[in-house]
Symmetry: C5
């Protein structure tokens, strides 16, 4: 049975030129990046996404209450930017329904380009000073554009999890989507990887994002997010992530 | 599949100005508080809440039979007060359905303010003489009012479980709700915390509640409720409580 | 999904003045009692209750085939008596549906008083010569009547399992019900307790039941029913029985 | 959710006077017997039974492909005989649906008498030279007829599993059914028991079945069917078989 | 609940004379063979098969994104050839739905002959220089034709898994199907077996397939596909494969 999802906004918004999604996954790269972006660009909390599939939690930040999956918005230059940020891991059984819900909602809102900020776990992350960010999409045009801006597509292998599913849904429904996946730790929060995805995002959109703070506070952030990383790892079982170190039969 | 819930009253009631809910959770703070409140204010058992999701039990007290989730009511001054008290733990899979059922029922009954009495487990509870009670809500007005009466909102972090879900549902449906959560033991019944929530409730409503007996009988109560605490702990797994010691990504 | 239940009778019957139910639970008190009652009063097998929720078994007794949940009937004095007896444990997931099915069927048949024969496990059963039988119901009138005949209501605590659920359903639908629960062993068949419930039943209905044989053959019966007790214990997990040694919050 | 079952015939058939069912259960008595009967009487494969509840397998025999549950038919004297034989164990969750499907299909086909060939596990099977075959049914007439031909009904106790369920369904729908259950090993294929059920079947129908080969090849057959026995044991958990050594409460 | 399946093509295609399916199963024989065939014959990726039952993954190959179950097509001589290739294991619960979806889709597309490329695990594979390929089908004509071309049908025993189910569905819907199953390793990728199925396919269709490369790169391929083999083994539990070493009752 499909759970009912809602996308609720506190105010009317224009068609967003840019949408950025940050959901918990390897290295928590996505939500660290969107949380930072919201602060840097001064976006406002303008709504939320909810469903009975989401754990029954609410958050408090500086004594203000917040729903766990929030929508932020505001202008950056002439573009209205929409950010979808989650502070809870998405349960495996909700991946398909949330993916198709987000894609159909963004089409309704006449969204322009969609960016998914996230990571690809690499085993030698410790030895990587500046993590490289790769582009992932099924749309060859989007990948070509990324390459023209210096962001290489993923070369070989599987990507799994909710971003893979959003990419599939966007492809089927002709929504322009690009995942920006930085090399990251599997199960340590990785603000350095978040900084890399934001820099790639900046290159592709021509809009500044200052990531200095993310890199300076790397250790502190890592400690703080230990527990959320743990919840996220638990939710990642059986979501296709197990394919990520696998080589497909087509390579032979 | 949603189970069918019923809210059955033995008599007609006026629109309640105040509704108080006490459901088993950490430290059993809620039901200890509502049980005490019912006695102190001399409220009558005027109905019950039931569903196939609730374990098939009935209770006897002083040879009188009782359903496990009961509705109490009566006047306190000019206000009609409604109390919903449960002697059984709410199964995890019933959290979403019960939350939305309670909120929609209270809206139908034209309920005024809703108070959720409960606890927040703190690790050093043993060293706390007088547990502090925090306010939780998504409604900024409700939190502002609480602060004006000396009850601080939760500052940082997640709250999880059925109260978080009721707060979300109330917020979506514009029902005025405030959770009063006292510092408490995780898995020991905590009458001292119940006393604190009742004192906070008293401050916010301007109505007296004598909590002396709760504090005097603390040890005795703790022993008596050992088993109910055990049932409650079993039901708390996977209800979002695991987020309560977690720091969200937005803090970074 | 609710399984389909049927109540099938081989003959037309008058509205029964008395209905007696004996379902496997602690000490197998119920079915031992109804089996004995059927023999003592010479009732005939006049139908059966069935559903896909019931294990796929049939029984043979003295080379005659029998369905596992049977309906017996016949006159005792001027009263038509209906007995529902089960030789299989009721699976936990069938408790709610069977309870509401039985209550609605008995209302259709215009049944008079309903008696549930069963037990309450007590830890010191070994030291009890004559087990006491308690009355349980939500209807205060029924309990008052029981007390007037020397059968005390349960004083304090939870009762759980299918009888608790039948009592709840009967209460909601205004069917006159009284459970007669004798002190018994948890997981040994307890014919002595069955004898006690039958004596209480006799007091309340003014109809003789000779229980001498039950008491004489106690040891033999206990041995014979070892295996059925085992099946029943397996089916009792998660049916609210775990609440039976628990003290509710309202006691504090 | 009920899975869809189909009963597909490759040719039109007359109303069968005799139907014989052999499904894997204790000692694999049923399918060993029906497999032998089909060969002895030269019946043809005229159709199959199938459903998504059945494991996705097909069989090959002498290089010919076969569906796992097959229908055989042909004349024996003036009687058209239909045999339903399975080479796969019936999953527990399919027992209720297959039973009611088979009974309603056979009623549609205007089937005459239905025989279920199978076993009853006995603990001292090793010491039994010639296993005795018992008759089981809910229809007293069928049992009386069996006894008149020297086949005793089961005297006391439960029978469980798919045959018990088919007997119940046949009884409810007035289809003439008789199970012939030979004493057998629980978890060793038992061709000797199959021979006994076929001899009983022969007595009841007046039609010859030569079982010499079954008895001669007993050891060889037992070895061959080891693995199918294993699959069958796995499928028998939770199908009411656990009641078979149990004594009902009505015996007391 | 049946998940929704889609078969999406990027272009219109003629009725395919030949359809070849390669799904992960024992030895990964199928996808290794179809991957090779696509390269040898220069077929284009013309579409995909998808469903919420499939793990949420996408693939990248030479920096190009790919869906996990792909449709390839192109002309070989005068015949339009359609290949369905999967780089993800099919979850057990999806076997029935995918099988009937593929068969009904191919009927709609007016497909000609369907070939399933796969393996049969044999225990002494190590000692087999050139694995033999067997034909499997329920259609005697298809098997007769295979034998006429030197491909023997499977002689005795069960085959299980998704190909068995596709064969059943094709048989019920009169779609011409032949599985070509080469002797293979159970849980090592087996390009040698893939080569054998392709050679058998070549014999039956009269169309050349050069398999030299598969045999030369056997070791390398085996290493590369270790992980995909692991995913596939996990998905094979409970799909009827456990019957493959089993002897049916009809052999006795």
């Amino acid at each position: 049975m499909r759970a009912e999802w809602i996308f609720s906004l506190y105010e009317e918004i224009p068609a967003p030129s840019l949408v950025v999604i940050g959901l918990p996954d390897v290295g928590l790269v996505g939500p660290i990046a969107t949380s930072h972006l919201v602060k840097q660009w001064g976006l406002r909390n303008i709504g939320y996404v909810d469903s009975p599939s989401i754990p029954p939690v609410i958050l408090f930040h500086e004594s203000s209450p917040l729903l766990p999956i929030r929508v932020y918005g505001g202008y950056k230059g002439n573009d209205f930017v929409l950010v979808i940020h989650s502070d809870v891991a998405i349960p495996p059984q909700a991946i398909h329904e949330l993916s198709s819900f987000l894609v159909s909602t963004l089409l309704e809102k006449k969204a322009g380009r969609l960016f998914l900020l996230g990571g690809i776990a690499v085993q030698d992350r410790l030895n990587i000073q500046t993590p490289k960010t790769y582009a992932a999409s099924i749309d060859p045009e989007a990948l070509k554009y990324a390459r023209s801006k210096g962001i290489d597509p993923i070369q070989e292998g599987y990507i799994g999890g909710i971003y893979a599913q959003i990419i599939k849904e966007a492809f089927k429904n002709r929504l322009n989507v690009l995942a920006l996946l930085a090399e990251c730790f599997l199960n340590y929060p990785d603000p350095g990887a978040s900084a890399s995805t934001l820099q790639a995002f900046s290159k592709l959109t021509g809009k500044d994002v200052d990531v200095k703070q993310l890199i300076e506070q790397e250790e502190e952030i890592r400690l703080k997010l230990r527990e959320l990383m743990k919840r996220t790892m638990e939710s990642m079982k059986g979501t296709g992530k197990e394919y990520e170190y696998t080589i497909p039969a087509l390579y032979v």
